[in-house]
Amino acid sequence: MIERLINLDRRIIFMFVAIAVTVPLLAKFNLPVRTTRDVENIFNKIDSLPENSHVLIAFDYDPASKEELQPMAEALLHHCYQKDVKVIGMTLTPGGTGLAVSAIENIGKQYDKTKGTDFVFLGYKTGVELVMINMGENIYSAFPEDFQGNPTLNLPVLEGIDSLKDFDYVVDLASGSSIEAWIAFGKEKYGFDLGAGCTAVIGPDMYPFLQSEQLNGLMSGLKGAAEYETLIKQESSAVAGMSPQSVVHILVVLFVLFGNTMYFMSKRNR
């Protein structure tokens, strides 16, 4: 019996996970989200920016990481538009263009923002570190046209911007290793304030950069997005996602404890 429980059919585990995800979503209950200093630092930075400041958001993720990073991007955009901050978007991931455009433009519409004047999406460029260096020397050299093919040189939204040095704040939303690249080839070379958002898997890797203050703040995983939604008082998909995530975490802990109990019982029987 114990051996059977130790080698529990994985489909039973899958079924429990499916129930743990769907029931909280159907029941629609929100849990109170406690905010952390790392997310508050990003919020405070954007909140302190004067009107018409320039924020660069790098949407360095693709649809595979949408569930974690798109709510983060949307919460950030809501905050920027509420503060009348000019938003410049770009991506170093080819699959990220569609998600970035839909977030920038759809949320911009909610605040009556104009494309080219209040926000722009520069599009995708290959080369990662080289793009950062090129943007650091001259942004119009790296992106002579925006995503729709309009020349960037005379765009009102980029007025006063020549290179990365001129941005008031840069946020990288990443599902890969682009945050390290932004630190080494962007922040350290051109000296701007950098914040980051990443998938929960990457989060632990970023702590050395937080302590060295190379990152002023970090949003990690769906929890980071939920914290930002809480801070801007605009609870949406990330906060809604906290209840199934909490239940699944409890379930996994129970599975681990149950698995260990069975393991020790089988050891004792032997």
């Binding site: 996970v17 499916a18 649809p63 949408k66 569609g98 290959t126 793009v131 729709q148 996994v252 149950f258």
Partner: protein, 217 residues
């Protein structure tokens, strides 16, 4: 032939490696212009990597189909998916690819209705496998494994809102684990990886490491 395939690439790697390393420390206008030009070259060369990647992908799956290797049927979807997407991408809503990017095209429809949900689904499936793997492999077999297990449980509960409802100390303990032991380990790995990257770069610049030239030596 050896001169063209070996010596010239080695000379280019040495000259460009040394020049760009020195350039970092020279804030002169000429140095900055050089950086701008070289980074643009790099971006252009990087564009060609897309073609290499596509060729490699298609070659791999074509071989699987030709040899009827296990799972070859799935490889046909690579050609089907890529083919349809490329055609609609080039069609650009009837304006074709030489015009500016159009909005509301079939390409966009495929992106939002196929790629986005498929990508999100693949990622979401991980939750099921992680739960199964945690149940099977997370055992307190040794003292080290027990410490890891306890830390994992604290972090798992402390990083979600329900953790605060269980105990107000759980998030504090989870934050401490992430900010102190986790950070120390990550920093150690980071320093090691960085030293390794510097050593490899020097080996490439001075022609000691030649694997990138191909041929296996």
């Amino acid at each position: 032939m050896n001169f063209l395939k070996r010596t010239i690439p080695l000379i280019i790697a040495f000259v460009m490696g040394v020049t760009m390393a020195l350039q970092y420390y020279v804030p002169h206008e000429v140095s900055q212009s050089l950086l701008k030009v070289v980074s643009r070259w790099g971006i252009t060369i990087g564009g060609f990597a897309v073609f290499l990647g596509a060729y490699s992908l298609f070659h791999l799956h074509l071989t699987k189909i030709k040899r009827k290797l296990p799972g070859w049927g799935y490889s046909t979807f690579v050609f089907l998916g890529a083919g349809i997407t490329i055609v609609f991408g080039l069609y650009n809503g009837g304006e074709f690819f030489w015009q500016d990017k159009q909005e509301g095209t079939m390409f966009e429809w495929i992106y939002f209705n196929v790629q986005v949900p498929a990508g999100a689904t693949m990622f979401s499936i991980l939750a099921f496998f992680m739960a199964s793997a945690a149940y099977r492999t997370f055992r307190a077999r040794t003292n080290e494994a027990t410490i890891l297990l306890i830390a994992a449980i604290i972090v798992m509960l402390g990083r979600v809102p329900i953790g605060t409802m269980i105990s107000q100390y759980l998030p504090i303990a989870a934050d401490w684990i992430m900010s102190v032991p986790n950070m120390a380990a990550k920093r150690g790995i980071l320093i090691g990886v960085s030293i390794g990257a510097i050593a490899t770069s020097l080996k490439i610049i001075f022609g000691i490491e030649r694997a990138y030239l191909g041929g296996g030596d």
